[in-house]
Amino acid sequence: MKAVEAMDLTKMYSDFKAVDSISFDVDEGQIFGLLGPNGAGKTTTIRIALTLIRPTSGTIKVFGIDCVKSAASVRQISGYVPQEVSIDTDLSGYENLLMYSKLYYTPKEQRGQRIQDALEYMELADRQHDLAKTYSGGMMRRLEIAQALMNRPRMLFLDEPSIGLDPSAKTAVWNQIMHLRDEFGTTMLVTTHDMHEAEVLCDEIAIMNKGKIVADGSPTQLKDDMGGDMISITAHDGDCSLILREHGQLLVSKPDEGTYELVVAQGEKAIPAVLESLEAHKIHVESVSLKKSTLDDVFLKYAGARIQDGGTWRDARVTRLAMRKRKG
């Protein structure tokens, strides 16, 4: 059974298509990434899956359960970490977890243990009785993830989990997310703007732009679709082009200047072979450099724009945090 199965899913806001007949499926035990710029429709897709809004047309199922027809059952097995701040900063960390374990009807005997496990796991145990408004952004995010674990979800939806975090907090969150998959087999759907994040976390990626899925596959597959990595070589002992052509697609060949650019499937593996065969022809290589193709290139190819052009998402989260703190 697929963990998530979306078929021709469409969401219209008056006559604007926020999600435009997308289909995808997520295998059990996988981390699936929805990658796209601001306004791509990622959050809308997640909200439909979580039964918070209804699709205009199409279907989506979570572990075979229809998100429109059996909304409550889908919610019982799903966890959600929203893009925005979703903990109650007027309660302590512990109380935030207790509240959700009650809202998920966790049996009383199991509550205490689950809460302590989640607190330990997210490294919040020592601050559990402080009001959440005193937490740092990273701690709040970890508390939100802990909260989403209260019902031991089979399917966890994380909307931009590392948004607004500094690099070390980001890495910590990534490790915890991967740990959830590896240790508990939790299936996850993660949205992100961040190519690097998608590459580190995801087993499978769908690139979304303007409501449509424009490409999907594993990160490696997607990059291979680009035709692979670029090796630049400098060598002055005669014309290397014939030898290089045996290894891949020769984009640039300037024997007079001694520069060549070669596109290969997997750069690291190709370099030793290329060097060996050049050496066999007694050609001395002066320098080699490798430029890996990135998901950014993939995105450029399919969506016609660099993802960083998106804008001010970080500001949005920070403003929301500030608002929340002011209120508290």
Binding site: S73, R75, S92, E95, K102
Partner: protein, 272 residues
């Protein structure tokens, strides 16, 4: 975590358990409202300032002017239950604004992603408003005692008042939760909050007896839930004040039921 395969039966089970789930959701929401109050009760005192002014300035002034004939009671006695119910209404109307606020953050999305039934969430928030209303009313009540307003201190009467307050909190919070999915933005809801509380207050029996109002105002007042709430409180707090308590409670509950139903139906729209 992968091991909870209960979903195949949970549709059937869900139907059987729906009653208990409903109550558990409602009581959880109320419990955590109380915990929030315990962490920080300053808001209750800040919100006590306005009712205090009504009692201390308006109440004492009109008592000495004797402009309004309230029978055998002093005007302050007559006014206190009115100010009590007004202060509860102000607290309750804030719940609609808070709903929009929680939507703008991620709290509401998160809350709605739990299996809790929508109606239980609406009712839970309504009861929370009632709970907060009780604490708000205690502040006003103590103040009234300090300035020596003669009120009934009979425990049964006070329990009755607490019940009326919970109904008032539910009624007006549900009213504002009906409006939240329609107006959706925090700024608009702030304005709406102002725009409904003052007219509700002035067209009710809170500051003057209904029988002394002009005819048109009497008609409006008869459709104003705040009049019934205030009347019930008067009957409980002022020995000798006559009012039809069952009618008052019935009117309050009917209004609550109507508003709660509309709020539940409209609730989904707040996320769209």
């Amino acid at each position: 975590m992968a091991g909870c395969a209960s979903h195949e039966i949970s549709d059937e089970e869900a139907k059987r358990m729906i009653g208990s789930k409903f109550l558990r959701t409602v009581s959880t929401l109320a419990e955590f409202e109380l915990r929030k109050l315990r962490h920080d009760s300053s808001e209750i005192f800040i919100r006590g300032v306005q009712p205090a002014l009504w009692l201390l300035v308006f109440g004492t002034a009109l008592t000495s002017i004797r402009a309004i004939d309230v029978g055998s009671f002093t005007y302050l006695q007559f006014l206190t239950p009115g100010v009590l119910s007004q202060s509860v209404m102000f607290v309750a109307v804030f719940y609609g604004i808070m709903l929009v606020w929680e939507r703008d953050l991620g709290l509401l999305n998160k809350l709605l992603s739990t299996p809790a039934p929508r109606s239980a969430i609406v009712l839970g928030k309504a009861i929370s408003a009632g709970v907060r209303g009780i604490f708000q009313a205690i502040v006003v009540f103590v103040l009234a005692l300090i300035i020596n307003v003669q009120l009934s201190l009979n425990p049964l009467d006070l329990i009755g008042v607490a019940l009326v307050i919970v109904i008032a909190g539910m009624c007006f919070s549900c009213l504002s939760m009906c409006l939240a999915p329609i107006f959706k933005s925090r700024e608009k809801m702030m304005g709406i909050g102002q725009a409904i509380t003052m007219p509700l207050f002035f067209t009710s029996s809170a500051i003057y007896p209904i029988n002394q109002m002009p005819g048109w105002l009497q008609i409006i007042s008869a459709y104003n839930p705040l009049s019934y709430i205030t009347d019930a409180m008067r009957a409980l707090l002022l020995p000798g004040y006559v009012s039809n308590i069952p009618l008052d409670l019935g009117a309050g509950l009917l209004a609550t039921a109507i508003f709660a139903t509309i709020a539940t139906i409209l609730f989904r729209r707040i996320l769209e």
